[in-house]
Every structure is written in structure tokens, then in C-alpha cells.
């Protein structure tokens, strides 16, 4: 792709600036701009144009963001052009010059799928980047692979690798402590140990609990003993306290007996008597007071006749007083009303004099006249409008008829239309064909790749489908047999191993038996037992019977003559005899078991030998079966000439074969589809050509023949795309003409209809105006108006009539209001005098208004007096009721007093008081006796007095204190022991509690798990960085191996040119570890390591590598414009000249746009490349 024109319409400092780049391929476009002229903006414009505006742009300072706009004419590798306009926005930012949206994919296709970031990396280079990359190249540390990969990518991969490794080292070092993962591992181990330490072992808990239970048991036992002693001591103390209480009880009992048997009055009897007597006294006093009050109230009540009359007519007097205010106001208004009547009457008489016809116009005429006046203007406007419409329609219709006649007759386009629609219905057939062809290529490549991966068989793709191979079922069958044989063999191996182990054991046991030697006889056992018994008989004779056994003993021990063996020797001999006989018996019993064991082992030995023989047979059979199976298996593969692997391993081979066959099926399907598509396209081309021939003669008016779609060109069209394009354009042309004719015809009909309608409307409006004039004359008839009066004059006449009528009506209303006020005054006076006569004769000489006021005052006084009388009436009733209640209470209290006297069997109140005192004394003694009994029983801890008396009966009161003291000492001692035991229990309980750490261990485990999570996270983070460095390094070296030769050759040539032949080539050197690095060769054949290069030479070395990589890239990818920004600012003239020559060569492969602000570089370029190969733009 190359840029043929760059439109800086609104961007940075530019407004509507166009750079037309028309120079032939091989030319360098130089954009020369002084500082601030917009060179940097132009550079950014290229990126924005091709890949869209960035979100934040520095180029919106002259033009607003939304107005930024760039355009270009782009030319593809095939010569096709695309004209684009780029706006800033979120969507649809790419359009054509007419504003129609262009899909981004269309531009992407032109750019060969290049992405913005990658383009900036690969196809753009400035002096800063050149200097940095050059210095990185010569600073050491980079190996050759990194240099080549970096130059190919335009990226500093050495630095990237270093960063990845540093990241990885920051996470983990095998012998490090501080990297994150090392630290996390340490933290986890520590937390894990803490969690383990915090755990309570069940056995520890059990031991502590058992100890606690034991101590508890001891404490409880001591507690029981202590309790018994305390109980005994408490009993004696209790009994010692009971003895004086018993004596006091007996004394109280004697005093009570001395009182005899008095009447026991209720405890509340005295209080009741006092209350009744108090109430009787109070009631009698109250009764006297009430009688006095009743007499006073009855005397104060009397009647007043005049006050009664006022109260009876109270409502009427109040109503009259209310009317008094209104009446006074009406009298005041009356004066003003009379004045207004006089004024109005004067005005009306004056108006009547001016218009002597007023009042003669009949009802309805005035509205009719006003309606006619309003209709007149509307009717005249309608008539003028309809006349104008009629004229306009007539004129338009004439012009349209002329246009329609100019179109002429249209050809039949049915064949062409059907052919175009048929192609459209097929979709994008050329693209489909391209895709189908690409699919064929892909399928073929896939099949070839799978064939290469198949292995074991060599043949062509054509032979694959016919390759005779066993079926999956056959493979499964053989695999089953194969596996069965393997299992049998494994089982046999296992069985043989077990057999060998058994055999070894049996052999060991047999050898052991042989080592145990001779078996003792039954006779030896009998002899040992006889000697033992003989010795024991001698012991019995000496010990039990007291016999002399010296001779027998000597005989028994077979001592020599003259020697008398001692009894001790006999004891030793008897002991030895017992031991000998026991050993003999044991060995005899053991020998019988050994015999049985020997027999069993020999039997086992025989069985094992038989089993070994069987195993040998099985082994032979399995080996034969395996050989047979291998032969049969190989035979299955003979037709395919394949030497097979075991069935299990051939299964994936068959799956690969199956995949290959599927790939071949896909290939055949793709080829078929491709062929069908080609046939269909040929048919469509034929049909399109027929359609075009049908319409060849037509040359519609308004269509031009120079539109590039003439019949002759169509007939010569070679492929479907051009045929379809021509036919579509022709059809569109015809359709446009047909559409125009149809549109003009419709318009003609519409105008004819409009003309007829306008003429009809005009006539109707004329008739309406005539009718109006007739009605107007009729309406004016009889009015005092001159002939030919205008509508405005009539309207003024009518307004004057209306004003006069309003004045007359106002006069009538005011007169009526004055009459009403006079009538109301008369009614008020009559009502007042009537009430005066009834209620207040003393006011008969007063005027009505004064009388009404006095009546109101008298009424208010009468109402106040009535309120006081009503209150006294109520008090009298209440006093009488209270007196009745008081008498009732007195009677009841008298009955109560009499009942009290009767219950005490008394005649007088004084007798009653004495009886009450006796009763109280007897009751008190009874109470104290009961309390004393209770105290004795309680202190004595007994259920009843009698059992307590029996308990203390045998006690010696004098000995009691000594016994109690003794017991107290014992209790104290035991209590101390019990306390110690309780303390031990408490301590152990604390130990147990201390063991219960609650959730401490669980929490510690949670912490450890948190740390473990960190370890896992960091492990994955390390793995990513570490593996990224490893794989990138590997791929870099692979890239070096694949590209080193051609890249270095070309870079060497470029380096020679860029250094003005101070260097002649580049080569590779290897260090002791075999690591390759770049070496420069001077013109004197001396090798120079990059670190020894000067800054400028370093720049030139990087540029050589970069351009060599770019050329290699261009050989295999879509060429795109290479942007160089002031690359040679640090080059001397000779090297700048060489650099521009190199760029000139590069321009043969792709467009080169060189930005600079040095006019000198532009001059050098023109001198070096010649004016024809330099296109200069000054910004």
C-alpha cells in the first residue's frame, strides 16, 4: 500500500492542506519543515489516518476534537485505490468523501491486517530510537539472536528478557531469603509449625482429665467425713441451746392456765368499737348543719314578672338588635344612591337627544349585521386566493408536459434485470471463489501436514484413501489378546516369585530341623523320672518320718566308701532329677511336633515342585502364543506394507490416519465447491452479456455515454466482476430514467387535478360574495343610514346603540334599590314598637333605633339574674339529698354498736371496754406459748416437742461444753485436709482449662493456610515470568538459527554502504560457551566487536540490521509506507548521502516518507537520487 495523497483537512496547525504524492515507485517523499511548521503533526497524522485518532490527541489546539479530519487517497498493491476521510469519534470514523461509512475491514485489508502498534514498531524509525537502539546494540550483553530478533521487531528484546528475569528473581531465588516467594515459604513453614504446636493431643487431654477425676474423688471422700463430724458437733451445740428454752416454755404455760377461760373477742373488736362510736358522734353533728343550710336557701328564692317577659321575647329582641346595624348602613347608602340616579338621568336624556332612532331597532338585527360585517373580508380573501391558484396550476402543467415529452420511449430491460438479480442473489461470488480457493489450499496443506506426521508409512495423498489397514475392531481384538497375554505373563511372574519365596522358606525350615539333631527316647524319660522319684522318697523318709537315711542316701548317690553324703547333696540331686525329667519330657514332646512339621514341609516341597513344573508349561505356552500373535498382527498390516507397532500403539496411528482421511475428504469437498463456483460464475457472465445486448440501443436523455459503462465495453468485459459492475450501472441508469418518467407522469396528473379544483373553488367564491351583498342590503333596510354606507360606519352606529341601552338599564336598577331601603326602614320601626309595647312600656316615647338598643340591654341584665337563681335551686336539692343519706348512716352505726355489746355479753360501753382488755391478755399469752414451742423445736432440730424432750432426757448438761470442744478440734483438722484436696482439684482444673485453648490451633491453621495461598499465588507468578523468559530466549535462538545467514549477508552489505565502506562486512563470533555474537569487519579485514564502535557507527549498524530485517519482512508481507524521521541528523554528508541512497533502494520495495527539518538533507537527497526520485514538500 502507498499513500497517493494526504489531506490535512483539519489537524494540528493544518487547515485544508493537501500533499499529493505522485512520484513513481523508487522515489523518496521528503517532508521538510522548520521547527513549529507541523512536521510532528504530519507524522502523527499518518498514524491517525490509518489506525484512527487516539483518545487524547495533542493536535486539537486549532481545530476542536470533533472537527479533526484527515483524508487520503491510498493505492493497493494491485493498483486499486481507496479514498478515505478519517474523523475523530467513537464509531464510523472512516468514510468516503461523500460521507458514506467505509468498513474498517476494507482499510485493514489494504494494510495487510497490520495493527497500529505493530506498524509503529516496524515501519517507523526516528533518530532518538536509532540512537538508543544503536547504543543498546554496542553496550554489550546482547547476543546475536537478541540483536536480530530485536531489529526484526523494532524492540529491545534484551531489555525485555532482562526485565522478565529480574521479575522472576524478585519472586524466587533458589538460595535466596528475601524474594517474595522465598519469604512466603518461610512464613508458611513458621505458621505451620505454630499451628502444630497449638494442637492439643487427645492423650494429653485424657491424662489431665483422669488426674482431675482422681483428685475430685479424694476431695469428695474427705468432704463426706467432714460433714459427718460437723453434723455430730452441731447436734450437741443445738441440744445445749434447747435446755433453757424448754424451761421458759413451761413458765408461759403456767401463766396462761392462771387466766381461766375468758370470752376471746376478735382481734379487731376494739378497733371496731372505737370506729362505730366516732362515726355516731360525727353523723349527728353533720345532720344539724344540713338542716340550717336548707332553711337559708329556701328563704332566698323569689319571682320577677317583668324579667320573665324579657326572657320570653329574648330571641325577637336579639334579632331586632342585629337588624338595627343593617338598617343604619342602608340609610347611609340611600343618600349616595339618590345622587347617582340624578346624574344618570341627566346623561340618558342627553344621549337620546343625539340619536333619536335609539330603541327602534328590532331584536336580532344587530347580531345579523355584525355577522355580515365579519363575513365580508373572508369572502374577498378566498376569492383572491382561488384565482391565484388557478393561474399557477395552469402554468406548471404546461412546463411538465414539455419535460415528459422530452423523455421519449424506454427499452425492455427484463433480461438484464433478471441477470443482475441472479448475481446479487448469489452474494459476493468472487470473494466466495477466493475463499473456496483458499480453503482448497488450506485443506491441502493440512492434509500434507497430517501425512507428514503420520509416520510408519510413506506414500502420496492420493494413495491414502485406498490404504488397506485393519479396522478399529481388529485392533481392539488384537489389543485385547495382547493385553491378556501381558496380564497372563505378569500373573505368572508374580506367581513364580511367590513360589520361589515359599520354596526358600520351606528349604530354610527343613535345614533348621536338621540342625536340631537327635531326638530323646521314651526310656531315657522313664529313667530320669525313676531317679527323681527315688530321691524324693528319701526326702520324705527323712523329713516326714524322721528316719535315718544315711546308708540309703549313700547308695542313691553312689558315694564312695567312708564318705557320708549330706542332706544338702540330696536336695541338689532331687532338684537335678526334677529338671532332667522335665527336660526329657519337653524334648520328647517337641520331637513329636518336629516330626509332624518335617512331614508337612516335605509335602509342601513336593507341591511346590509340581507347581514349578506347571509354571514352566504355562511360560512355554505364553511365549508361543505371543509369537503367534505377533505373526498374525504383522500379517494384518502386510497389505499396507507397514511394520506395525503393538496394537495399543497402532490405535493412535489409526486415529491419525482417520484424521488424515477426514482432511482429504475436506480437501475433495473444497475442490468440488471451487469447481461448482467457477461454473456458476461463467453462466452468470453469459446471462449478463445477453441482458446488456437487449438494452444496447438505448441512450436515455440526461445519461451520459462517458460514464464508462457503455455497451461496447460491457460486451468485452472478461470476468464476472466487471460484467456485473457494467450491468449494474446500466440497469441503475435505466431505472433512474424509468423512475423519472414515472415521477413526471404522477406530477402531471396531480397538477391537472389541482387546476380543476382551483377553477371550481373560484366560481364558488364568486357566488358566495353575491349572496352576501343581497343579505347586507336587506339588513340595512329601515335604518337611518345613508345609501352606500360602509361596514365600518355601520359597526360604529351599532356600538352607539349598545352604550345607550346600558345607561337606561343602570338608572332602573338604582331606583329600585332606593325603594327597597325605604320599605325595610318601615318594617323595622313597626317591629320595634310592637316589642316595646309587650316588654318595656317605659320606652314607648323613644325612637325606633334607641328603643331597640335599650331593649337589648334590658335583656342582657335579665339573663344574668336568671343564671344565679338556677344555681341556688341546685344547691337546695343537693342539701336535702345529703341530709337523707346522713340519717341512713346513723341508723346503721347504731345497729353495729348494739351488736358489739351483745357479742361481749355487756350492757354498756364501759363493760365492753373491760371485756376487750381480758380477751387481749389471754390472746397474747397463747401467742407467746406458740412462739416458744416453735423456737424450742426449731433450735432443737426436731419435728415435735415430745421427741426433743426424749432426746435431751439422757444428757449431762455439765459435760456438754467439753464434748463440743473436742469435736470442734476434729472438724478443724479434717477441714484443713479437705481444703488442701480442694486446692489440688482447683489446680488440676486450671491445668485442664489451660489445655482447652479454644480455637487457637484452628486459627493458627487458618493463618498457615493464608500463607500457603500466598505461596501458591507467588509460585504461579514466578512460573509465568520464569517461563516467559525461558520461552522467549528459546524462540529468539530459533529465529537466529533460521534467519542468521541471509539477514547478516544483507545487513553486512548495508553496513558497508552506510559507513562509506569503512567497514566491509558483518560476521559471527562464538565465545567459550558457544554463545554467538555480532562482529564487524573493517575494510582492512580487522574484526571489531560492537562495543568498540563509535556512536555514529553504532547507529549505522542498527540501521543496517533494521533495514535488512524490514526488507525480509517486505518480501513476505504487504508493503506499507516506511516513515523515517530525521534519521541522519548525526551523520556527516557522506554517510547521509549513503543513508539516503539506502532509503532510495528501499523505496523500490515500498513507499518511503522522510521527515526532516534540515534543508541540507533535502538537497543531498536531490543530488544523490536525482530530482526525478525525490518529491519534496515544504510544510
Amino acid at each position: 500500500m502507498r499513500i497517493r495523497r494526504l489531506d490535512l483537512q483539519a489537524f494540528g496547525p493544518f487547515t485544508e492542506r493537501t500533499l499529493t504524492m505522485e512520484a513513481a515507485p523508487g522515489s523518496v517523499q521528503i517532508l521538510l519543515g522548520r521547527n513549529g511548521a507541523g512536521k510532528s503533526s504530519s507524522l502523527r497524522a499518518l498514524s491517525a489516518l490509518l489506525f484512527g485518532f487516539p483518545h487524547n490527541t495533542p493536535d486539537a489546539w486549532l481545530h476542536e476534537n470533533r472537527k479533526l479530519r484527515l483524508g487520503a487517497l491510498l493505492e493497493g498493491d494491485d493498483g486499486d485505490t481507496l479514498e478515505i476521510v478519517r474523523n475523530k469519534g467513537r464509531k464510523d470514523t472512516l468514510r468516503d468523501p461523500d460521507g458514506k461509512v467505509i468498513p474498517e475491514a476494507e482499510l485493514e485489508q489494504l494494510l495487510g491486517g497490520m495493527h497500529g502498534e505493530l506498524y509503529a514498531t516496524l515501519f517507523a524509525l526516528d533518530h532518538v530510537r536509532l540512537r538508543e537502539a544503536g547504543q543498546q546494540l554496542v553496550s554489550g550483553g546482547e547476543d546475536l539472536g537478541e540483536s536480530l530478533f530485536g531489529a526484526g521487531m523494532g524492540r529491545d528484546v534484551h531489555q525485555l528478557l532482562a526485565r522478565l528475569r529480574a521479575n522472576a528473581d524478585g519472586l524466587f531465588l533458589p538460595r535466596g531469603k528475601t524474594p517474595s516467594l522465598n519469604a512466603a515459604i518461610s512464613a508458611f513453614k513458621k505458621a505451620h509449625a505454630t499451628a502444630n504446636k497449638a494442637q492439643l493431643q487427645p492423650a494429653s487431654w485424657r491424662r489431665a482429665k483422669d488426674e482431675e477425676a482422681r483428685l475430685l474423688s479424694e476431695r469428695d471422700e474427705l468432704g463426706r467425713s467432714l460433714k459427718a463430724l460437723q453434723k455430730q458437733r452441731e447436734r450437741l451445740v443445738r441440744l445445749s441451746q434447747v435446755l433453757p428454752l424448754l424451761a421458759r416454755f413451761d413458765e408461759l404455760k403456767r401463766q396462761r392456765s392462771g387466766l381461766g377461760d375468758p370470752i376471746l373477742l376478735p382481734a379487731e373488736a376494739s378497733a371496731a368499737r372505737v370506729a362505730v362510736m366516732d362515726r355516731l358522734r360525727l353523723g349527728e353533728a353533720t345532720l344539724a348543719q344540713l338542716d340550717k343550710r336548707i332553711d337559708e336557701l329556701a328563704a332566698g328564692l323569689s319571682d320577677d314578672a317583668s324579667r320573665n317577659e324579657l326572657l320570653i321575647h329574648g330571641d325577637q329582641i336579639k334579632a331586632l338588635f342585629k337588624r338595627l346595624g343593617a338598617q343604619q348602613e342602608a340609610s347611609a347608602d340611600r343618600v349616595g344612591l339618590c345622587a347617582r340616579i340624578a346624574a344618570l338621568r341627566s346623561e340618558a336624556q342627553s344621549a337620546h337627544a343625539n340619536n333619536d332612532s335609539a330603541g327602534e331597532m328590532e331584536p336580532g338585527r344587530q347580531p345579523r349585521l355584525r355577522k355580515l360585517i365579519s363575513q365580508q373580508q373572508l369572502l374577498e380573501e378566498q376569492l383572491a386566493s382561488s384565482s391565484s391558484a388557478s393561474l399557477s396550476a395552469t402554468s406548471k402543467l404546461a412546463r411538465l408536459t414539455e419535460q415528459l415529452d422530452g423523455l421519449g420511449e424506454l427499452p425492455h430491460d427484463a433480461t438484464l434485470r433478471a441477470a443482475v438479480h441472479a448475481v446479487k442473489a448469489e452474494g459476493d461470488l468472487p470473494r466466495q471463489q477466493t475463499e473456496a480457493a483458499a480453503r482448497v489450499t488450506r485443506c491441502r496443506a493440512t492434509a500434507a501436514e497430517q501425512l507428514a506426521r503420520l509416520g510408519l508409512w510413506t506414500g502420496s495423498l492420493d494413495d491414502v484413501q485406498g490404504l488397506p489397514c485393519p479396522t478399529h475392531e481388529t485392533v481392539d481384538r488384537f489389543d485385547g489378546r495382547w493385553l491378556q497375554l501381558q496380564r497372563d505373563e505378569t500373573a505368572l511372574d508374580t506367581s513364580e516369585q511367590n513360589l520361589a519365596l515359599k520354596q526358600a522358606r520351606v528349604d530354610d525350615e527343613l535345614a533348621s530341623l536338621e540342625k536340631q539333631g537327635q531326638v530323646p527316647s521314651e526310656e531315657a524319660l522313664q529313667a530320669a523320672r525313676a531317679r527323681r522319684d527315688q530321691g524324693w522318697a528319701l526326702v520324705q523318709r527323712a523329713w516326714l518320718d524322721g528316719q535315718d537315711i544315711d546308708r540309703a542316701l549313700a547308695a542313691h548317690l553312689e558315694s564312695g566308701p567312708g564318705r557320708n553324703p549330706s542332706h544338702r547333696e540330696l536336695a541338689v540331686d532331687v532338684g537335678a532329677g526334677i529338671e532332667d525329667s522335665d527336660q526329657a519330657a519337653d524334648r520328647l514332646r517337641l520331637s513329636s511336633e518336629q516330626g509332624a512339621l518335617l512331614a508337612r514341609l516335605e509335602e509342601e516341597h513336593r507341591e511346590l515342585a509340581e507347581q514349578q513344573a506347571q509354571h514352566s508349561e504355562q511360560r512355554t505356552a505364553i511365549t508361543a502364543a505371543k509369537e503367534q500373535l505377533v505373526a498374525e498382527w504383522s500379517e494384518q498390516w502386510t497389505p499396507a506394507s507397514i511394520k506395525p507397532l503393538p496394537p495399543g500403539e497402532m490405535r493412535p496411528w489409526l486415529e491419525r490416519l482417520s484424521g488424515l482421511r477426514e482432511a482429504l475428504d475436506d480437501l475433495h469437498q473444497a475442490e468440488d465447491a471451487d469447481g461448482l463456483l467457477s461454473e456458476r460464475m461463467a453462466q452468470h457472465v453469459q446471462q449478463l452479456r445477453r441482458g446488456l445486448a437487449d438494452v444496447a440501443d438505448h441512450d436515455a436523455p440526461g445519461a451520459t455515454r462517458d460514464d464508462g459503462h457503455g455497451v461496447i465495453e460491457t460486451a468485452e468485459a472478461a470476468d464476472l466482476a466487471s460484467c456485473f459492475e457494467t450491468a449494474s450501472a446500466k440497469l441503475a441508469n435505466l431505472e433512474a430514467t424509468q423512475e423519472e418518467a414515472r415521477r413526471l407522469g404522477q406530477r402531471q396528473e396531480q397538477l391537472a387535478d389541482a387546476l380543476a379544483l382551483a377553477q371550481l373553488t373560484e366560481k364558488e367564491n364568486q357566488a358566495k360574495l353575491k349572496l352576501w351583498q343581497e343579505n347586507w342590503s336587506a339588513a340595512l333596510n329601515g335604518l337611518p343610514l345613508r345609501e352606500g354606507v360602509t361596514t365600518d360606519e355601520v359597526e360604529a352606529f351599532l356600538d352607539a346603540q349598545v352604550a345607550l341601552a346600558k345607561q337606561v338599564q343602570g338608572l332602573r336598577d338604582l331606583t329600585a334599590r332606593v325603594a327597597g331601603i325605604d320599605q325595610a326602614q318601615q318594617r323595622f320601626e313597626a317591629d320595634t314598637f310592637l316589642l316595646v309595647e309587650r316588654c318595656a312600656a317605659d320606652l314607648k316615647d323613644a325612637d325606633a333605633e334607641s328603643a331597640a338598643e335599650e331593649l337589648a340591654k334590658s335583656l342582657a341584665a335579665a339573663e344574668s339574674a336568671q343564671v344565679l337563681r338556677d344555681r341556688d335551686d341546685g344547691l337546695l336539692v343537693k342539701c336535702r339529698e345529703e341530709r337523707d343519706e346522713c340519717e341512713t348512716r346513723l341508723a346503721a352505726d347504731r345497729v353495729l354498736r348494739d351488736d358489739l355489746l351483745r357479742s361481749a355479753n355487756c350492757q354498756t360501753v364501759e363493760e365492753l371496754i373491760a371485756a376487750e382488755e381480758r380477751s387481749e391478755l389471754a390472746r397474747r399469752l397463747d401467742g407467746r406459748l406458740a412462739e416458744s414451742r416453735e423456737e424450742v423445736v426449731t433450735v432443737g432440730g426436731a419435728t415435735d416437742l415430745e421427741s426433743l424432750r426424749a432426746d435431751v432426757a439422757g444428757l449431762d448438761p455439765d459435760a456438754l461444753p467439753g464434748d463440743i470442744e473436742l469435736l470442734a478440734q476434729e472438724v478443724e483438722q479434717l477441714s484443713e485436709k479437705h481444703g488442701q484436696a480442694a486446692q489440688a482439684v482447683g489446680a488440676q482444673t486450671e491445668v485442664v482449662k489451660g489445655l482447652d485453648q479454644g480455637a487457637l490451633a484452628a486459627e493458627a491453621a487458618a493463618v498457615a493456610e493464608n500463607e500457603l495461598a500466598s505461596v501458591r499465588q507467588l509460585t504461579m507468578a514466578f512460573a509465568r515470568q520464569h517461563l516467559a523468559a525461558h520461552l522467549l530466549e528459546r524462540e529468539i535462538q530459533r529465529y537466529r538459527q533460521a534467519n542468521q545467514g541471509p539477514l547478516l549477508d544483507r545487513a553486512g552489505q548495508l553496513f558497508r554502504r552506510l559507513t562509506a565502506e569503512h567497514f566491509c562486512d558483518l560476521t559471527v563470533a562464538y565465545d567459550d560457551d558457544g554463545k554467538p555474537s555480532l562482529v564487524c569487519i573493517r575494510d582492512d579485514e580487522r574484526e571489531v566487536d560492537p562495543p568498540q564502535l563509535s556512536e555514529g557507527e553504532a547507529d549505522q549498524l542498527y540501521l543496517a540490521l533494521r533495514i535488512a530485517s524490514l526488507e525480509r519482512h517486505l518480501q513476505r508481507n504487504t508493503p506499507l509506507p516506511f516513515v523515517a524521521d530525521d534519521l541522519f541528523v548525526s551523520f556527516d554528508d557522506a554517510r547521509a548521502e549513503a543513508g539516503l541512497e539506502v532509503l532510495g533502494d528501499l523505496a523500490q520495495q515500498t513507499q518511503v516518507i522522510f521527515f526532516t527539518h534540515h534543508a541540507r538533507l533535502a538537497e543531498i537527497a536531490q543530488q544523490t537520487l536525482g530530482p526525478d526520485r525525490v518529491e519534496l514538500f515544504e510544510l
Binding site: 530478533f149 495461598a1013 499465588q1017
Partner: protein, 432 residues
């Protein structure tokens, strides 16, 4: 027939720690340390508050390898709480309990019944007319179908089978005590209270056969609400069944598509919305959230270049949005650059060759396996616990290595496409 209410729970795994939660600055550490304890205490509180008639625990009360006796003491305390409310508890020991030494030394109150492991037995609650049949595991690995020997149902009563089983097999669970749900149904019991499978699942209704799931999710694969099942029985028939969440930490995993975002800030905004929704759904519980971002986005380069920073930003935003109600368990950036990887891969340049090289590597299992020694030095230092369990890291595993190769590709592409850091380049640093 009587009416009553009981609770069915299983797989308590008391005091087993929550797995995979990496600590970070501001993480609500204190809220999750004893999550399984708190969840169990919630269960006991529920039983007391709802005055249930009995509690069933279908195995795996403890975690197999956990030996701290304090856990047993805590369990005993909770059983005392139920005992004080006269609520009996019926337990079968599961595979983890059989492995645990706790049960041999722990004295439990009288209201707790543990079924024997020698054979299936029946315990009756005469007042309720209920028969509970159960059998504990004797060893960790029980491969026989224990349900076959469960007693015949008590005629006329409400029969419950208490069983720790993998049923007919569940992914992620050992196939212990396998059985067929149809056979359980055919047994004639009214309710089968199962345990072992951590995800709640109803295998059959009428009669009911169900796993209540575990009480507290313990790692990112145990997401969603966790708790017990409350069962109401009216006149001898199940009238109502309700799953009641009791967990104190709620696990959740979310994939967030960044296809419509063009910046890391937009990613954070999108995340804030997601975390707000998730926290709302967790009902005031602490939310342990695992995130995976995917999709093609312009932010991809920044995210993979400085992953650590953006994870911290996400955690910070989570704290701003949800205070201490959320713990960001793990963040994975599985995003892709906006540029078409297919086009890059087809290019004839170093980057294209690199990508094709990685592709070849992915498709060659042997070559992938050969990468494992790259991590030998790390593996020697790595604690074995990191290589086991649900969140294990196995750098010798082919699948893990392939995933790492994907990560490497994601990491390298933006690094190789980005402009050199020292210069904006002639076309300007900022490109769309």
C-alpha cells in the same frame, strides 16, 4: 401419627481452614478464621430457636488429618447446648471421622447418639414414632454399599436412613459407600439423610433422598449458599422441606468480560458494580470472591504488564465499595489484546514465528512435559502442602504447563508490540 420437626446436616469439617485465601493489606482476616466453627454454632442456635425435635449429622464432623482435641471439646460444648434443650443428636461417622483420632477420646453428653460401625442399627424415638437407622464408617475407605444391610423399616413409624455415601458417584468426591438412589427409595424409608457430597442435591422426593451439602464452603469450588435442611413432618408425612443457609463466609466466582472496556479504570468501574451485586447477594456475610477477567480489551497490555498493581487496585476498590465485607480471593487476567491473535500468528516476522512456536509447543505433549525441569529448583523448595489439595499447584502437570504457555503468550504479545519506553517513536507514543 405424630408431627415434628428435625434438622439434617452433614460435612461439618469442624475447624478445617478455608483454602486459597491469600492475605493482603486490609483483608478482613479476623472474620473467617473459625468460619466452620461459627457455621456449626449457627446450626446449634437454629436447632434451639426453632425447638426442633432432633438433629441428624450424616458424617464428616471433623476433618480427617486434624488432630487438635480442642475441636472435639468445642463440639462437646455445642452438644451440651442442645442437651440443655432436650434435643437429641444422631450421628454417623464418615470417612474423615473414621480417620480422626478425636472420636476415641471424646466424651459426649447423653443426648448424642453415635451409630456403631460394625453393622447398621436402629434407634427409636418412641414419643415421635420415629426410627433412625444408621451405620458409621469403620475405616476411611469404605467401598461396600452399606445401605444394603440397613434394617427393614419400622411398620407404621417414620423411618429415617442416616448414611454417608457418594451415592452413584459425584465428581470431586471419593466413591465411598456407593449406592443406588433407586435402591434407597425401594427400601421403604420416609427420609434418607445423606452426607459426603458438599453440594446440596435432592436425589428423590417422596420419599426424600437428599444431600444437604456442607455447612460452610471451604474453597472457591464450593460456591453459593451452604447450610442445613429443616424438615417438617405432619401426621407422619413430610410436609415441608427448607434449605437454611448457615455459612458465615460465602464463596463466589465471577467471570467479567472486558470486551467493552478500553481502560483499566473502566475495568475497575465494572468490577465495582459486580462486587456491589455480589455483596448484596451474600446477605451481610463475608464474601470470598474469585475473579477472572476475560475478553479482548485495550487494557490487556497494562493488566499483564503490571498485574500485581492492578490486583491491588481491585482489592482497594473492593474495600471502598464493600468495606470489610469482601475478600478478593484470587484475580486472574485471562484477557486478550485487541489485535487479532490470528493475524499476528500468521505474520511472517519474529512475532509471528514466536507465536507459531508457542502453538507448536502447546500441541506437543512431550515438549510440554520437557518444560517441567525448568522449575526443578523451585520444586525442591516448595512445601509439599502447596502441591496437594483443592488449590494445588503442580508445575509438572501438562494442563498447568499449557495454561502457563497461554499466560506467557498473553504477557509477551503486548510487551513486544508496545513502543519502546525511551521514545515515543516518530508516530507518537499513544496509538489507538
Amino acid at each position: 401419627m405424630t408431627s415434628f420437626r428435625f434438622v439434617h446436616a452433614a460435612d461439618i469439617h469442624l475447624d478445617s481452614p478455608l483454602i486459597g485465601l491469600e492475605r493482603y493489606e486490609g483483608a478482613p482476616v479476623e472474620r473467617l478464621r473459625i468460619a466452620t466453627r461459627d457455621a456449626f454454632a449457627n446450626l446449634v442456635t437454629l436447632c434451639c430457636e426453632q425447638e426442633v425435635d432432633f438433629l441428624l449429622i450424616a458424617g464428616d464432623l471433623y476433618d480427617g488429618g486434624w488432630k487438635d482435641f480442642n475441636t472435639g471439646l468445642f463440639f462437646a460444648q455445642q452438644m451440651h447446648r442442645l442437651g440443655s434443650q432436650q434435643i437429641p443428636v444422631f450421628i454417623v461417622r464418615g470417612n474423615h471421622d473414621a480417620q480422626s483420632t478425636m472420636t476415641k477420646h471424646l466424651s459426649l453428653p447423653a443426648n448424642v447418639v453415635q451409630f456403631d460401625s460394625s453393622a447398621a442399627h436402629t434407634r427409636r424415638l418412641d414419643a415421635l414414632d420415629v426410627a433412625i437407622h444408621g451405620r458409621s464408617y469403620a475405616t476411611r475407605e469404605v467401598t461396600d454399599d452399606l445401605s444394603i444391610d440397613y434394617p427393614e423399616p419400622l411398620p407404621g413409624g417414620f423411618n429415617i436412613g442416616l448414611l454417608h455415601t457418594s451415592a452413584d458417584g459425584r465428581e470431586g468426591h471419593e466413591p465411598y459407600a456407593p449406592c443406588h438412589p433407586e435402591a434407597l427409595v425401594a427400601k421403604g424409608y420416609d427420609y434418607w439423610a445423606l452426607g459426603h457430597v458438599h453440594q446440596r442435591e435432592v436425589l428423590h422426593e417422596n420419599p426424600w433422598v437428599l444431600f444437604p451439602g456442607n455447612l460452610q464452603g471451604r474453597h472457591a469450588r464450593e460456591t453459593g449458599a451452604k447450610g442445613c435442611t429443616v424438615v417438617d413432618v405432619v401426621d407422619g408425612a413430610v410436609s415441608h422441606i427448607e434449605a437454611v443457609p448457615l455459612d458465615v463466609v460465602r464463596w463466589s466466582r465471577r467471570r467479567i468480560d472486558l470486551a467493552d472496556t478500553s481502560s483499566c479504570d473502566a475495568m475497575l468501574d465494572l468490577f465495582a458494580q459486580v462486587v456491589t451485586d455480589e455483596v448484596a447477594q451474600a446477605d451481610d456475610r463475608l464474601l470470598a470472591l474469585r475473579l477472572e477477567f476475560h475478553g479482548s480489551t485495550a487494557a490487556h497490555g497494562e493488566l499483564v504488564h503490571d498485574t500485581e498493581r492492578w490486583i491491588n487496585e481491585i482489592r482497594q476498590r473492593a474495600m471502598e465499595v464493600a468495606d470489610d465485607n469482601v475478600w478478593i480471593e484470587k484475580v486472574r487476567f485471562r484477557t486478550r489484546p485487541v489485535v487479532s491473535m490470528k493475524q499476528l500468528r500468521e505474520r511472517e516476522d519474529p512475532l509471528g514465528e514466536l507465536l507459531r512456536g508457542l502453538d507448536d509447543l502447546r500441541h506437543d505433549p512431550q515438549a510440554v512435559a520437557d518444560l517441567a525441569p525448568v522449575f526443578d529448583e523451585l520444586l525442591q523448595k516448595l512445601p509439599h502442602q502447596a502441591r496437594s489439595g483443592p488449590e494445588s499447584v503442580d508445575l509438572s502437570d501438562g494442563h498447568t504447563l499449557c495454561q502457563l504457555i497461554d499466560d506467557v503468550e498473553s504477557l509477551l504479545v503486548p510487551e513486544l508490540l508496545a513502543e519502546n519506553e525511551g521514545s515515543g517513536g516518530p508516530l507518537g507514543k499513544e496509538l489507538p
